[in-house]
């Protein structure tokens, strides 16, 4: 009798486990197992090759990928996750990345402004009145037409949510403020009158925060749980916060047939796991594959879409600390062997450079600016010696005005920034300046309080196709809540103020170049490197292309391979 009870108990445990595991596999949107045939080519033949896909099994993923007609689910693994909150700054990126909502304007592969939900736009002579002509026949995912009124409501809803008076955070207001929005449903246009000239207005409208949603319908649901009602190719069916999204086709999509019935998006923080997921066929698309693995992927027939320059991994230097000393700062900049740090320490995840804006943006003339702090440790030590920053107490470290120096890097671990900081610290120690690294969960507090010598930032430099927002970090009027370096230079301020209101593109570019020149001359921004962002895709899908700005991941153009 007792025995029976115990066995029954064990049996129940085992069966429940099997049952739960089993029926889970059949539930909606979770058929990762189905698209991964059980016999996913156990390529045991390549056990000798450490870097995985030897060319011999290059065809393996293609073999296991079901035929185009049979592939109905797109599997994506990524290192990022946010909630589908279109009215929050960085989560809004996610909404557009997942293909849930779209913007009036979009960035092209050359970072130019391209039509999307708006077909064209123009600004009146007052430099304030912008008119956007809307695409015909666009529908929201609930079937409602995207009329001019809906667009107006969408923007108004954003500003209502963002208004500090309503407890909002006010991010949208830093992009632009308006005096009026009018919708003309007959002409299908929306006219926005801004309070002051906004030279990058199309870029603002391309920023994900300004994606168009059905305000009325979205108000009626819990956006944080269900996502907004947008015009994108996919809609959220469910999600587990911090882990995965299950998306389904938007039946009302306006721009052609949506290629996949469902999308399974999973956050996988481990770099090696994302790479493995691509190789074993459980993912069609993976973001951020470590640079050292890319050659092997490419030779195995995977597509690698790599973009460099849109994002800087850099450090703000604190001008109110010892780094305010010009000689010390210059010497520290010269101590950094950026080529080695980028190519070896980060394994090529970053590209070395010294201008705040990558030289690939030729319009801002980075290539014409000479590198006054190129790697030269001997010269750095000479500068320190000449400035009297010497080791006088024999402890092996130099002192500044008789005071011991200990430079502190404050950094988070994300995007290998802690690795870069540690490499920097080593190089700085090599010129006799003591330096330490403090790894933190979040650097915000340190930035605002100024309790750092170098603090890491990893930032999109042209979020609206224009660097003005990024450059305002060093504008003295920005205050320590944004000008973390506590930098102040009247020349910079003057040029920056001119940039802010200038509408003429070539003159704007000239100002930007001027600002870059000042920053390089003053050694203001300690660059770790330009981040190389990549999206890799298996031969099972086509059309995965990464434009310089990483706002578009899952698009209507990603299709099953023929």
């Amino acid at each position: 009798m007792k025995l029976k009870k115990i066995f029954a108990l064990l049996l129940v445990v085992c069966m429940t486990a099997a049952l739960l595991a089993g029926c889970g596999g059949n539930s909606a949107g979770s058929d990762t197992a189905n698209t991964t045939p059980a016999d996913t080519a156990p390529a045991s033949s390549d056990t000798g090759a450490d870097t995985a896909p030897a060319s011999s099994d290059a065809s393996a993923p293609a073999d296991t990928a079901p035929a185009a007609s049979g592939k109905t689910q797109l599997n994506v693994v990524s290192d990022m996750f946010s909630q589908p909150n279109i009215h929050d700054l960085s989560p809004s990126w996610f909404v557009v990345r997942l293909g849930l909502a779209e913007t009036l304007v979009r960035f092209g592969e050359d970072s130019s402004y391209q039509p999307w939900l708006a077909t064209s736009w123009e600004v009146a002579d007052d430099n304030l009145t912008w008119t956007f002509h809307l695409q015909e026949g666009v529908k929201f995912s609930n079937g409602a037409d995207m009329t001019a009124t809906k667009v107006k409501e969408s923007i108004e809803y954003l500003y209502e949510d963002q208004d500090p008076a309503n407890g909002g955070v006010g991010d949208a207001l830093t992009f632009m403020t308006y005096t009026s929005i009018t919708a003309d449903d007959a002409a299908n246009t929306v006219t926005i009158v801004t309070t002051e000239p906004v030279p990058d207005m199309p870029g603002v409208m391309a920023y994900p925060l300004f994606a168009i949603i059905d305000a009325e319908a979205t108000r009626g649901r819990d956006m944080l749980l269900e996502g907004p009602i947008g015009t994108g190719p996919y809609v959220v069916t469910s999600y587990t916060d911090g882990h995965d999204y299950q998306l389904a086709k938007n039946p009302y999509y306006w721009d052609g047939e949506v290629p996949f019935e469902t999308v399974n998006y999973v956050k996988v923080a481990e770099e090696s796991s994302r790479y493995n997921a691509l190789l074993d066929g459980s993912a069609d698309i993976a973001t951020h594959i470590q640079a050292s693995n890319l050659p092997a992927l490419e030779s195995a027939g995977y597509a690698v879409s790599n973009v460099s320059g849109a994002r800087d991994g850099y450090f703000h230097v604190n001008f109110e600390g010892p780094m305010g000393n010009d000689a010390l700062r210059k010497a520290v900049f010269m101590a950094i062997d950026d080529e080695t740090v980028c190519d070896i320490t980060t394994g090529g995840s970053y590209t070395a450079g010294y201008t705040p804006l990558a030289p690939i943006f030729t319009q801002w003339g980075g290539a014409d600016i000479p590198d006054v702090t190129a790697y030269n440790p001997e010269e750095a030590m000479k500068i320190l010696d000449e400035a009297g920053i010497k080791d006088t107490d024999g402890d092996g470290w130099r002192e500044l005005d008789g005071q011991n120096i200990l430079l502190t890097y404050v950094t988070v671990t994300g995007r290998q920034m802690a690795d870069i900081a540690q490499a920097h610290a080593t190089l700085i120690q090599a010129i006799g300046v003591n330096c330490e690294v403090k790894v933190v969960d979040s650097q915000g507090e340190y930035m605002t309080n100024g309790t750092f010598d170098m603090v890491n930032s990893n930032e999109m430099i042209v979020p609206t196709g224009d660097p003005v927002n990024f450059l305002s970090h060093w504008y003295s009027e920005s205050g320590t809540g944004y000008n973390y370096a506590r930098y102040s230079n009247p020349d910079f301020d003057k040029a920056f103020e001119a940039l802010k209101t200038e509408m003429d593109v070539s003159k704007r570019n000239e100002y930007v170049k001027q600002l870059q020149q000042i920053m390089v001359d003053d050694s203001v921004l300690l660059l770790g490197g330009y981040y190389n962002f990549n999206i890799c895709s298996a031969p099972s899908v086509t059309g995965v292309v990464q434009p310089p700005c990483d706002f578009y991941w899952i698009t209507k153009d990603i299709k099953p391979a023929a």
């Binding site: 450490d50 995985a52 090696s272 790479y275 470590q290 320490t345 690795d419 540690q422 080593t426 403090k438």
Partner: protein
């Protein structure tokens, strides 16, 4: 203890001797890290990063071009010292509180035991993670976090031992003859509880090393560039494909150390708890006869 006595002890308890020597070796590695390690653990040579194991670098180099072998040798210090400090602290704090609870009884007992129950109602590392996370990532905080959970085991143990001997005649005699509480505590209670507490402590060292390295692995422990095994393993895991030695060797170091301490713990228990061992032997005889 004279040499002769030591010799006799070693002969009588071969297992303990062998494992103690093993552990001693590990301790010596920590003490003489400077002599054993060919390089400084923090000396980086960026251009020599990610070198596979070779004659110059037995275990290869990490992303900063630091010698992995030297870092692992020095890492012994962090792991051993923290585990020993932690276990000792847990034993002293927990043991004393347990003895006091058992001896005093009443409200004191109830309060201490309820606190114990509270701590024991958290499985695994979850409370330690919360504490370490809230206090901020640092090695000391990680130790405090684990200590907050681990003392309870000793408290319960010590209390039960005290309760067992509390009613014995000699304690009662001491009480009636007017011995002071402190005297009774330290003359009878502490020495009585000590062997069991010590055995538990030795058995606990391995688990503690695992716990600390686990917290470090999650990023709630030590700050770089101090070499610590759990953190090194965590640094190495993203290079699993291309540079597998970065995760293999630190893990091996943890594993070997834990094995050594567990072996010692098991054998010490057999020695200090001879009653149990004898009972087993008797049973075996009985079985054989049957």
């Amino acid at each position: 203890m004279t040499m002769k006595k030591l010799g006799t002890f070693c002969k009588a308890h071969k297992a303990v001797t062998v494992y103690a020597i093993l552990v001693l070796l590990i301790v010596l590695v920590a003490v003489f890290a400077k002599v054993i390690a060919p390089y400084s653990p923090t000396e980086a040579s960026l251009r020599d990063a990610f070198q596979p194991p070779s004659a110059a670098h037995k275990f290869g180099t990490d992303f900063m071009g630091r010698d992995l072998f030297s870092r692992i040798i020095y890492g012994t210090r962090a792991s051993l010292s923290s585990a020993l400090i932690l276990v000792a602290a847990a034993m002293v704090i927990g043991g004393l509180l347990g003895i006091i609870a058992g001896f005093a009884g009443g409200v004191v007992d109830a309060v201490i035991m309820r606190v114990c129950d509270t701590m024991l109602s958290f499985p695994d590392l979850i409370l330690a993670i919360a504490i370490a996370g809230i206090l901020g990532p640092s090695f000391v905080n990680a130790i405090i976090a684990i200590l907050a959970v681990s003392w309870t085991k000793y408290a319960r143990l010590a209390r039960s031992m005290v309760l067992k001997i509390k009613q014995r005649d000699y304690i009662a005699a001491a009480r009636t003859t007017g011995s002071r509480a402190r005297h009774i505590l330290f003359t009878y209670m502490v020495p009585n509880a000590l062997p069991t507490l010590l055995t538990t402590a030795v058995l606990d060292i391995g688990t503690t090393i695992l716990g600390i390295s686990g917290l470090s692995f999650l990023g709630f422990g030590i700050q770089p560039p101090t070499p610590e095994w759990g953190y090194m393993l965590s640094e190495g895991r993203s290079y699993m494909q291309t540079y597998p030695w970065l995760m293999i060797f630190p893990g091996l170091a943890i594993f070997i150390t834990v094995v050594a301490f567990n072996l010692l713990g098991d054998s010490v228990r057999d020695v200090l708890d001879p009653g149990k061992a004898r009972k087993h032997k008797k049973k075996k005889r009985k079985l054989n006869k049957a």
